[in-house]
């Protein structure tokens, strides 16, 4: 049962990470780290989905993020007017572009390669051997003449940096879409 929620989370929520961070950055730069907010939104989404998977994940994500921000504004009591104004004017529906992003295998590969290139050299080599060559950690350690705990440490660092880099690549994409949307509105007026 929880398995279906796990799969949903990985397949439908995680690809929206970049979009979400961009949204949070725009609306709440005040006193909280974006990744803390993101963690809270992800947790709330996961809990909500445990009672039944949503039909529109993107819409649920934005409404969850909005609720979180409203909660925080209430708790904080004093909020700059700008934060509130900006938040009110946000047209969430323009970001609900509908079904889940379709990314081709080739685009995915390009994204992964770009992300891999952002890692520090040693970490990148180890991720490369472990993931691309399919060596075990022990074989990787032996091949490089380093200890297994060292390899494990690089794997840990590597996966974290990769997760962040892949999220950021999503951010760039979101930014582009947002730009074109805003341009669209001003022309129509």
């Amino acid at each position: 049962m929880s398995n279906a929620v796990d799969d949903w989370f990985m397949q439908e929520v995680l690809p929206l990470e970049g979009e979400l961070e961009r949204f949070l950055q725009r609306h709440w730069s005040d006193g909280f780290e974006v990744r803390d907010l993101r963690q809270e939104v992800f947790s709330r989404l996961y809990k909500a989905a445990s009672n039944g998977l949503p039909r529109n994940t993107r819409a649920l994500m934005y409404s969850t993020a909005r609720h979180l921000i409203i909660d925080l504004i209430r708790r904080k009591r004093v909020v700059s007017i700008e934060t509130v104004m900006d938040f009110e004017s946000w047209d969430v529906s323009s970001d609900e572009a509908g079904p889940f992003d379709t990314v081709s295998a080739r685009q995915e590969l390009t994204m992964l390669r770009t992300a891999l290139e952002t890692l520090p050299r040693r970490t990148r080599d180890i991720v490369h051997m472990r993931r691309i060559q399919g060596l075990s950690q022990r074989e990787t350690a032996r091949a490089l003449g380093v200890s297994e705990p060292t390899v494990e440490r690089h794997v840990s660092q590597g996966v974290r940096l990769l997760a962040d880099a892949l999220g950021r690549l999503g951010v760039d994409r979101g930014q582009q879409r947002l730009k074109s949307k805003r341009k669209g509105r001003s022309h129509e007026r």
Partner: protein
């Protein structure tokens, strides 16, 4: 909802999740199809950490998903089989398996570099919609395509350009700006080129129609005796056919109503009933049939839900005084 005034910090949770992933990976417990609950059964300490907090679980899922995605990079492996150099510092005889692995590792690094410098021909992706379906596709460059009913396209992106072939049907393009990579659409009789804008393109039996809502669009016709090209601005509708180009300044309102199908609606404005019926029939399996020419010439106006042909028929009955005959697959309209 809790009343804490501070959010939990993500940093230590992410660190712990990554450490757990690395540790489970070291013990060979992570397979592509692993599920978390089975993993938790393997390691009690991990189970305790994982189930302590939803934040732990989502953080681990994030790392696990990343790690699984990274495995797709294995396609970069391949090519040569002769090792040039090895990292190994031990006697070569020690373990055959290990030596074989190292050989692969060295090959892998060289082929990665080759891959990086070689521009590849993009493999086109095909997207289709069935009769009555509307589908939105988010492309990686940030462009969003909305496919109308009964549409077929391919998408091929390279470093130099973004190419869409429209084989049949209608697409609304919201093109993300990229001045280095023009976006081209080939729709048979007409070609469109843009840098970043929003517009709809419909391929018909005879010709191609382009309606622009934002930005500037280059439209040209091809395969014809008369070749021409034109710039379309917002509010303009262009028709490309083998005979040439026609451009109308219809106004943004017309363009907007022309593109209402994206919301599942059709708008008519002094539209002959035959044309309105043809529009409905693009989306529905129940066909609207107009019995005679006089009925077909009646002009109607208004906005209708695209998939509710019955409501439209009732309106024709009540509002226009037409006779409506229902059968299993069609609705026939005639003058009394």
């Amino acid at each position: 909802m809790n009343a804490e005034s501070r959010l939990a910090s993500a940093e230590p949770v992410e660190q712990a999740a990554a450490n757990w992933l690395a540790q489970l990976d070291r013990h060979g417990l992570l397979a592509a199809d692993s599920d978390l609950d089975r993993l938790a059964e393997e390691d009690r300490e991990f189970a305790n950490w994982l189930n302590k907090n939803t934040a732990h679980r989502v953080a681990f899922l994030r790392m696990f998903s990343t790690w699984r995605r990274a495995e797709r990079l294995t396609v970069l492996r391949g090519g040569e089989t002769t090792p040039r150099r090895t990292f190994i510092r031990r006697p070569v005889v020690q373990a055959l398996a290990a030596a074989a692995c190292v050989a692969m590792a060295v090959v892998g690094f060289t082929s990665l570099e080759v891959f990086g410098s070689r521009p590849e021909a993009p493999a086109p992706l095909r997207y289709q919609t069935a009769h009555g379906d509307i589908r939105t596709i988010n492309l990686k460059d940030g462009s969003v395509l909305t496919l109308n009913t009964d549409t077929s396209i391919t998408v091929a992106f390279s470093e130099q350009e973004r190419q869409v072939d429209l084989f049949k049907g209608e697409v609304f393009f919201d093109v993300a700006p990229d001045s280095d990579r023009p976006f081209r659409i080939d729709a048979g009789d007409g070609q469109v080129e843009v840098l970043g804008t929003s517009f709809g393109v419909e391929r018909r039996e005879a010709g191609v129609e382009v309606a622009v809502s934002v930005g500037t669009v280059w439209l040209s016709n091809t395969g014809a005796a008369k070749q021409s090209a034109s710039v379309l601005k917002p509010g303009m509708i262009g028709y490309a056919s083998p005979d040439g180009l026609i451009v109308e300044s219809s106004g943004l309102e017309t363009v907007t109503s022309r593109l209402l199908w994206r919301d599942g609606r059709l708008r008519f404005d002094n539209t002959p009933l035959t044309e309105a019926a043809a529009e409905f029939n693009r989306y529905n399996s129940t066909r609207l049939v107009i019995a005679d020419e006089a009925t077909g010439a009646i002009e109607i106006g208004g906005t209708f839900p695209v998939d509710n042909v019955e409501a439209f028929a009732r309106l024709a009955e009540d509002g226009l005084g037409l006779e409506v005959r229902y059968s299993s697959r069609q609705i026939e309209l005639s003058s009394k």
